[in-house]
Amino acid sequence: MQKNLLLKTGIIVAFLLICVYGMLGPKLFSGAGFKAALLDRIHLGLDLKGGTHLILQVMVNEAVGAQSDHATEILKDELQKAKVNYADVGKLDNQPEKIVIKGVSLDASSTVRGIVSDRLPEYDVAAGPENSWILTMKPQQLADLKDRTLEQSIEAIRTRVDTLGVSEPLIQKNGLGDNQILVQLPGVDDPGRVKEIIQSTARLELREALDHGQSYPTEAAALQAHQGILPPNTVVMPSKPRRGEQEGGFIIVSRIPVVSGTDISGAEPDKKPDTNEPIVDFYLTAAAGKKFATFTAAHSEGSADPSNLAIVLDNRVITAPSIKSQISDRGNIEGGFTEESAKDLAMLLRSGALPASLHYLTERTVGPSLGADSIKAGVKAAIAGMTAVLIFMLIYYRGAGVNADLALILNLVILLGFMGFSGAVLTLPGIAGVILTIGMGVDSNVLIFERIREERRNGKGAGAAVDQGFDKAWTTILDTHVTTLVSAAILVAVGVGPVRGFGVTLIIGLLANLFTAVFVSRVIFDAVLSRKGRGEALSI
């Protein structure tokens, strides 16, 4: 018995020391203050630290559309090579995974099927109404493409956030909705700027600018210049205002880009040699370079079909210069940049364009001052609640109250120690979880003590009463803990952000409580009894 007790005490002390280390960490020995050591170990959630929590929707259909545009180009090429006449080829606007070929004679059907199965195996083809063919992206390919788009977006955001030097960012798929990304930036300094940088698609595209890059004041004017009908395969895009202008105009550009964002291999800020104006240089991949060379050769000044080049950034035409001569794998953008904005743009182009644009669905920003105040309030509430409970237990149970108080304090140390070891994040609801654990933790002690008192009233000796009390209360304690654990686990499983933090602290607190109230408290009772002799009075 005595030896057993020593062993148990040893286990408890060892455990306690481990938890204290977990709570305060290596700084414990460096002589830094208690507070500094604690703050170093316990990770604060963004509701305490300040920061921003964002949910973004990735417009995956844009990536699907881009893929279909690419396929459309290939189709046109192949149809021309095979000398098949067609009226029009293009994707459906509301179903970008479908491409329609219109006006193909019936006898070309085997040719069309052959082209699709050879060159576009990711599409299924079926005959549509009125001599048309409909290509539909295969479901598996479509799902893969959407997944890939989401992954790429997450990667691009991560690169950008890392360049900005935000510490401990959380960037991941948001489980709640389709194609959503959750971004948490605790302690972020200037959330406004970070938000803009995350969202800027930085999708650079080079397109053909029709009408020699002519800028029209309104969309209607652009249409009117072509008698109300745009040339086939073109769209009207807004343009950035030129220097000295208030508003930008509208330019007619080719529907399908010659070079798109994924074809950029590098970018750097630079200065124009003659005017010293900030510009951004960009480089293309080899494959895109070849394509670009063919295009610029065909449309350069003095060629048979001279035309302008539209440099489009995030669906806005930045400039539309004429093409002086053939260009292959490099170019630059003059867009009236400042040094800062040229630097930002180059960084964005380098870090990779987003494969599709992003929309913010949720934005929660906690200012640093509110976080600081919340910590103060939370700690104050925790201390007030804890003190009240500790004092009450002492008064109500006297000797046994010390026992319960020790168990409670140990409970808190275990909880914080675990948080230190696991790197779990403490949120404001998490602090509430700690406080609740104190209240509920006391329940196990109360159950046991009341039971012991009852046994004493029934005439049992101190030792027997303690034995019986623990024994009978155990079933109840187990049942109550399991049910509360169940609801806490569900909170962790489906909860978001701060609520999850609450669930985590509640679970750890409950487990710690099982240990302290049942095991530790028992050892203390045994120790007291073994000193006094089992028949004597028990202070409870």
Binding site: D47, Q180, V188, D189, D190, P191, G192, R193, K195, H359, Y360, L361, T362, E363, T365, G367, S369, L370, A372, K376, A377, G378, A381, A384, G385, A388, V389, F392, I395, Y396, Y397, R398, L428, P429, A432, I435, L436, G439, M440, V442, D443, V446, L447, D471, T475, T476, T480, T483, T484, V486, S487, A488, I490, L491, G495, V496, P498, V499, F502, F519
Partner: protein, 399 residues
């Protein structure tokens, strides 16, 4: 010290009082949800914009309203928070929160409140844009001390600690920084920054899509936990025990949500967390009583179930009151000191703990007895649904 010793209160005899008490509160809550305040959902679930603003002086609500009106925000709701905190919360509904440009409403609010911006300078109280980086960069550019960058980082940190940790995010005037930083630094800061008379403490903007998803998720979370508990109790006791406990917990949830509706307080995500906690807590309480009933059923073979239940409630009464009282104390300290962010959370727990304690005595236990009496009448057998023990395994672990 002991409060309750050998009490012998006939709880079951008062079941009609209990029933009418529960009915009054449940029905009042339901009526309020249906015809009065509805279920006041917070911005988490409903979507919309919520901006907490702290002013230097006591905010003048009509003036704020006029400013917002001028900016075209006619439906903005403005509420002041605690007296003396100089804080208001401004709410925009979904119509004024566009999903295409989510922060538009927030920016409109900030611009409307910013009555005298100084061109060429930044507002140092605008924590959305001005943080450590901005202050440090401004100092580095001006270089008032001809010192190492590390020195300016220290100065910038000092300025921001002054703003965020000591003055809740709003600096009244640049001159307040006198003594906090050297005069040369202060002058450099004055060149770059000015102070507005307000600062944004936090902003929540939720589009309709996410709000809807969260609503579904929260409902599922509550339902799942009820089902999981039902299954656990069925396994450990008997079906009817599980059903009685779940009905009691449902009763608690209903009354708590009703209390939010009656007082027109918003149900946010953290309130849902509180409700789930209360589900666990109330279940706790019920199980303690049920456990005692199970024990007594074995010991008291001759008494009727009603007598056994009464005895069990009385035996556990001391523990029930103590635990609830102590938990109530901690929750109360949360409610009083926990700050504005936790107000709804602690309110739910304050209500929930009272109701949860009440319901295990006044709802779960009487329901158990009523069911048994009904069953023995209809089947002619007087059998009590003995919670089986051996087969389903009583967990006995020696400690």
């Amino acid at each position: 010290m002991e409060f309750f010793r050998n009490t012998n209160i006939d709880f079951l005899g008062k079941k009609w009082y209990f029933l009418s008490f529960s009915l009054i509160f449940s029905v009042a809550g339901i009526l309020s949800m249906l015809f009065w305040h509805g279920v006041p959902l917070g911005v988490d679930f409903r979507g919309g914009t919520l901006v907490y603003v702290k002013f230097v002086n006591t905010p003048n609500l009509p003036a704020i309203r006029a400013d917002l009106d001028k900016a075209g925000l006619h439906n903005a709701v403005i509420q002041s928070l605690e007296a003396g905190s100089n804080e208001v919360v401004i709410k925009l509904d979904l119509k004024e929160t566009s999903e295409a440009d989510l922060s538009k409403g927030k920016n409109q609010i900030i611009n409307a409140l910013e009555t005298n911006p100084i061109p060429g300078k930044e507002n140092i109280n605008n924590s959305d844009r001005i943080g450590f980086t901005a202050v440090r960069d401004a100092l580095l550019a001006a270089d008032p001390l001809h010192a190492e960058p590390a020195e300016y980082e220290r100065q910038a940190r000092r300025v921001l600690d002054f703003r965020d940790k000591e003055h809740s995010g709003v600096i009244k005037s640049m001159d307040d920084l006198k003594g906090v930083v050297p005069d040369a630094v202060l002058n450099a800061l004055k060149q770059a920054f000015y102070t507005s008379d307000f600062g944004v403490r936090s902003a929540d903007i939720v589009g309709p899509q996410v709000g809807g998803q969260l609503k579904q998720q929260a409902t599922l979370a509550v339902l799942f936990s009820l089902i999981a508990m039902l299954v656990y109790l069925w396994f450990r006791f008997e079906m009817i025990y599980g059903v009685a406990a779940v009905v009691a917990v449902f009763h608690d949830t209903l009354i708590t949500v009703g209390a939010f509706s009656l007082t027109n307080q918003e149900i946010t995500l953290t309130v849902i967390a509180a409700i789930l906690t209360l589900v666990g807590y109330s279940m706790n309480d019920t199980i303690v009583v049920f456990d005692r009933i199970r024990e007594n059923v074995k010991l008291m073979r001759r008494e009727s179930l009603a007598e056994i239940v009464n005895k069990s409630i009385n035996q556990t009464l001391s523990r029930t009151i103590l635990t609830s009282g102590l938990t109530f104390l901690t929750v109360l300290s949360l409610y009083l000191f926990g700050g504005e962010v936790l107000h709804g959370f602690s309110f739910a727990l304050v209500v929930g703990i009272i109701i949860g304690t009440y319901s295990s005595i006044a709802v779960a236990a009487p329901m158990l007895v009523a069911y048994t009496e009904w069953r023995s009448k209809s089947s002619g057998r007087g059998a009590i649904p003995l919670p089986t023990q051996g087969a389903k395994g009583k967990v006995r672990v020696k400690v």
